[in-house]
Symmetry: C2
Subunit: 113 residues, 2 copies
């Protein structure tokens, strides 16, 4: 596997930005270079390069040099893996809180008797 998986909060922080989502949507349909992205987005190439660095550090984008340009592509599997973790946590909250509610219910019932 890839040496060290990025921390969840790092991935979430990377995803908490509209410009980065715009980049990801483009890279999710076709691999592109930073200059190509700069043409289609209303920010400078250097700003995009910074965003790409953040996304790559978060494991959401893969980059490969190709001649004199660098092709970037979105890694859908990373996003799905993060989604799996979030879903598991969400379900855990639900089950725990439901259990606490049930215990309170039972205690109230026993006190009524």
């Amino acid at each position: 596997m890839s040496g060290s998986a990025p921390a969840p909060t790092q991935q979430l922080a990377a995803l908490a930005d509209d410009t980065r989502w715009a980049i990801l949507e483009l890279l999710g349909s076709r691999a592109r270079s930073a200059s190509e992205l700069a043409v289609e987005l209303p920010v400078s190439r250097q700003a995009i390069a910074k965003h790409l660095a953040v996304l790559e550090a978060a494991g959401l984008v893969e980059s490969a040099r190709e001649g004199r340009s660098v092709r970037h592509r979105a890694i859908g599997a990373s996003l799905s893996a993060l989604a799996d973790r979030l879903d598991a946590i969400g379900r855990q909250w639900e089950s725990r809180l439901e259990r606490v509610a049930r215990m309170a219910e039972e205690r109230a019932a026993s006190e009524r008797s």
Copy 2:
């Protein structure tokens, strides 16, 4: 349904903070008040109140007044719903990019013939 669902980036931004995750983990095991949280976490009560406001605006926490205190609890279903959306997007990226790769493969094959 709840009137207006928070934007995904809003939810993601809310989740992109370690202190808020610490709060969520506590609220995911048992509903608590802001003062209770302040005892268990190394930040001031007001900081926690701000975080709770962010989490509530993101639809990740539910609050209910109970006497002179306010009980907050994590909403696991919101997290799972967000996870579902992320997973769908991740799978979409994978299928699109795979399709692009296959088309390039076929074009190369036809050019070889």
